[in-house]
Amino acid sequence: MSSIEIKDLDLAFGAVKVLEKLNIDVPEGEFLVLLGPSGCGKSTLLNCIAGLLDVTGGQIFIDGKNVTWEEPKDRGIGMVFQSYALYPQMTVRGNLAFGLKNAGLPKAEIEKRIARAAEILQIEPLLDRKPAALSGGQRQRVAIGRALVRDVDVFLFDEPLSNLDAKLRSELRVEIKRLHQQLKNTMVYVTHDQIEALTLADRIAVMRGGIVQQLDDPTTIYNKPTNLFVAGFIGSPAMSFLDGKIEEKDGQKIFIANGIDVAMDGYDGYVPNADGRDMILGVRPEHVGLHEDPSTGIQGVVDIDEPMGSDSLIWITVGNQRLSVRTAAGLGFKPGQPVGITFDITKASLFDKDGGQRL
């Protein structure tokens, strides 16, 4: 059974249509990540699910119940916000208890739930502090706790980690993942950080301009992005794009650009005929081979070497185009040095420039 079912959802602010005819099904226990650039409507969608925005059209079902017009509190959801949104004048305990008191739960039950949530999130020592006396990570944990105590089936997260620094972000990311494995409830998680999306999600919905571009599991999204937008948005360091055309030579289909020609044999998808259409070849930095000998493969020139600790990202100029290559750290490529590059075409993606669809 679907835990969340969104049917033909429309949402407009006045004349501005933010979401249009949106359909998503989230099976029970799934961790769905909504990913997309700023302003694409992720928060809006989440707020619709939570009942914090009145939809303009369409329906929303949670656990099979039509909740389109229910109050947020009656939808069986818990929500965690980017800015934590803790009630500043209440202690952590008060924050956790607030919703339960509103629901009229007996005292003992409230205590029990708080204790459980505090244990899971390891915030027992903080229960009597006020939010102002907590660090960012602790605050976010309390915010999660506030959703946790509500004992609901669906958790909604709106960029919960984006106010934290990189280090804390990766720590809490793991905790959220563990929480999901432990609780096994449905989670919808909004982010614009693709690392978060890839690490956390069972499935990712990549959005743009209020429209879901691709809804799939992380591996598929990473390896077979449906279009240029998804391809460029997912992956860090980002995929390199090369402009060119398909030509045929000796019965082989070859991708030809200024100074580059790549045989498309083994490409995982459809390679069109040489019809002169503009094409774009996308290759991820880790699927490019880099050789000190410029005569191996295609010749290029090192532009920049970005060491990233465990490995390095080398930017290469080939013809008039640029691409990045991921190598082990410390190989010592210097700017200006000529190199040879090879592509792992089985993992590349070929896009129609006009429309941007993957072929």
Binding site: A50, L52, E71, P72, K73, M79, Q89, N102, A143, D158
Partner: protein, 319 residues
């Protein structure tokens, strides 16, 4: 740089430069905090200006206080800025408890409690209503709300005198004319525009997510207002209280038009004292009465000065 080179370069101009530098700084090398003169031109300008301005601002207060401590003969002779030669508190006593208007010779004291009686419910009610309005406008926008708000702001510009008559009729129709509650209502109405504006701006600056979180937690309109918003709006409440206390305490027109003599606020007494000329104007009594009347808002100010700026920052700046 070798020594010989240095000597070569040491032409007269650099020499004189070093000498000049040595005059100011024996150790030559700037090190540590930049030396700042206590009486720099900048400081003299800033503090000088502020001091002058302060004198201008304090002058009237000084005149009031000094005059209120003089006897009438001294006032007639001396100038208004000279300090009293003989300090007397008689004017204060008279202003508070002896000055006459018509047949009543009990000074301001009569109006004081009336003013308090008017002030307390008016301030509480008007702020309560305005804060709820601001909250509803900021967080629960409904259709047409902005229109009403615009009219409200328009109301801030309406001279009170213009509304005097319509309100007489309104109060008459409501049967509240002449009662304390009628007056409270009038203060509420006329305090509403500016306070609603302040509260609306303040609540708009409260992160929307907080409000959303509370809704998910099942708190309703009032639950969020009382449990979430109220506890975090002290600064703006201080501002609203100051504005309302000042406005209501200093009000004369409504107090006299919409109530009966037994409820007349202190300002009516003040007006009576100041305008009842018995032969010569008793400036000392007038000044004492004036200070006494202004005391309540002044005290409120002095107590809450800092919060005022903070609240203004939150309520007026963002919006």
């Amino acid at each position: 740089m070798s020594n010989s080179e240095a000597r070569n370069v040491a032409n007269p101009s650099t020499l004189s430069a070093t000498v000049a530098g040595a005059d100011i700084l024996p150790s030559a090398e700037p090190r540590g905090p930049k030396p700042r003169r206590r009486f720099s031109r900048r400081n003299i300008f800033i503090y000088g200006t502020l001091l002058l301005v302060s004198i201008y601002y304090l002058l009237p207060l000084y005149v009031m206080v000094v005059t209120s401590l003089k006897g009438m003969p001294e006032i007639r002779l001396g100038n208004i800025f000279s300090p009293p030669m003989e300090v007397t508190f008689q004017p204060w006593v008279k202003a508070w408890s002896e000055a006459c208007t018509g047949l009543n010779c009990d000074g301001l004291s009569r109006g004081f409690w009336n003013s308090v009686q008017i002030l307390v419910p008016s301030v509480i009610l008007s702020i309560a209503i305005a804060s709820v309005n601001g909250y509803a406008l900021a967080n629960w926008k409904f259709k047409g709300a902005e229109t009403f708000f615009t009219i409200l702001i328009f109301g801030a510009f309406i001279p009170y005198q213009v509304m005097l008559y319509p309100i007489v009729i309104l109060l008459r129709e409501m049967g509240l004319y002449g009662s304390l509650w009628g007056l409270v209502l009038v203060h509420m109405v006329f305090g509403m525009p500016i306070n609603t504006l302040l509260f609306r701006n303040y609540f708009t600056s409260v992160p929307e997510e907080l409000f959303k979180a509370a809704r998910v937690d099942g708190a309703g309109f009032w639950g969020i207002y009382f449990k979430i918003m109220l506890p975090m709006s002290l600064p703006i409440f201080v501002v609203a209280i100051i504005i309302q206390v000042t406005g209501i305490w200093n009000d004369f027109l409504f107090g006299v038009v919409y109530t009966k003599p037994e409820n007349y606020p202190m300002t009516v007494q003040l007006n009576n004292i100041v305008n009842s000329v018995q032969g010569v104007k008793e400036y000392n009594v007038n000044m004492a009465a004036t200070i006494l009347t202004g005391l309540v808002p002044l005290i409120v100010y002095f107590i809450s000065g800092k919060l005022f700026v903070r609240g203004i920052a939150a309520g007026a700046v963002k919006g």
